[in-house]
């Protein structure tokens, strides 16, 4: 099975327990409906198993298929510079139909981000590089669609059900 490359590091966006023995990585696209489907499954998993898991999100925006996905990824990373990556991540997935137009700016305002800083960070070279590096790591790891999950570096056989994620975690804990 395909392996995660490079391994999780301090550059990654993570939540859950940093000391956990299980690290779950998702490669996702903010405009992808299948990732929208997986989002509440991950929320539930973190609620039930959060003590046992470190969860990492890497960006895999398919720009040809999803024209708003790359901008959304930049927006979430820019929010991360104000310690609001996960709130932005959640609000985007919970409002996928509002992506595009002013949607992302509205989300940023609703999170009370410093908007002038957000506007500067959003399209900065460093943020673009972060998203592009995530995408390249997905290519190198064998991602060919979203969402794709890796548990402790090994690709998960995710079948769109909560059970497939839970069982993978249980087997590893």
């Amino acid at each position: 099975m395909a392996k995660l490359k490079p391994p999780v590091s301090g550059k990654d966006q993570s939540t859950g327990n940093p000391q956990a023995s299980v690290t779950l990585v998702e490669f996702g696209d903010y405009q992808c409906p299948h990732c929208g489907h997986a989002h509440p499954l991950i929320k539930r998993l973190l609620k039930e198993k959060g003590k046992d898991i470190l969860f990492v999100f890497r960006n895999f925006p398919l720009q040809e298929a999803h024209p708003a996905a790359f901008m959304a990824a930049l927006a979430a990373e820019a929010a991360g510079l104000q310690d609001k990556f996960w709130p932005m991540h959640d609000i985007i997935f919970e409002n996928q139909e509002k992506l595009g137009g002013h949607g992302l700016l509205d989300f940023a305002e609703s999170l009370q981000l410093d908007m002038s800083r957000f506007a500067a960070d959003w399209k900065s070279d460093a943020i673009v590089k972060k998203v592009e590096d995530d995408f390249e790591s997905g290519i190198r790891s064998g991602v060919n669609g979203t969402p794709t999950f890796y548990l402790n570096g090994e690709m998960v056989n995710y079948d769109t059900t909560y059970g497939s994620l839970l069982n993978a975690v249980k087997a590893a804990v």
């Binding site: 099975m1 395909a2 398919l62 040809e64 298929a65 390249e136 290519i139 064998g142 060919n144 669609g145």
Partner: protein
């Protein structure tokens, strides 16, 4: 006969668009990825070509070009490229066996999302006319 790693790739010419032909040697100096696939519009291969399309900027970052090759007609390729917004060319090959016998590339590489089953016949990475690595 299958070309070995390090062997020189033979030159060949195929239709790139209905009124334009391209030779492999036109791309000399670049890494060239030949993505042989069974058919335009086929579901798994279509997805694979779509992913290559998303990866173009990364191929270019490493001085690589990708070319799709299948047996569909040049008009079919044109419609497929337009429909899928492909930014790389799909070349027409009328007789893949002839190309294989011409020593180009003839292995079977199988890979799909789960790393098994399905897929397209051949991919070889060429650099300055030298076959480097089969992908997949």
């Amino acid at each position: 006969m299958i070309l070995q790693k390090g062997a020189a790739a033979p030159d060949f010419e195929l239709h790139a668009t209905p009124d334009q032909k391209l030779k492999l040697s036109d791309l000399r100096g670049k890494r060239v990825i030949l993505a042989f696939y069974p058919a335009d519009w086929s579901p798994v291969c279509g997805d694979q070509m779509a992913l290559y399309n998303e990866m173009l900027r990364y191929f270019h970052k490493y001085n690589a070009e990708i070319i799709g090759i299948s047996v569909d007609s040049k008009w079919c390729h044109m419609a497929f490229e337009q429909d899928r917004h492909l930014h790389f060319p799909c070349w027409l090959i009328l007789n893949p066996k002839a190309l294989c016998q011409g020593n180009t590339a003839c292995t079977t590489i199988r890979r799909d999302k789960a790393g098994e089953g399905c897929l397209c016949s051949t991919r070889k990475e060429l650099f300055n006319g030298v076959i480097f690595l089969p992908m997949g």
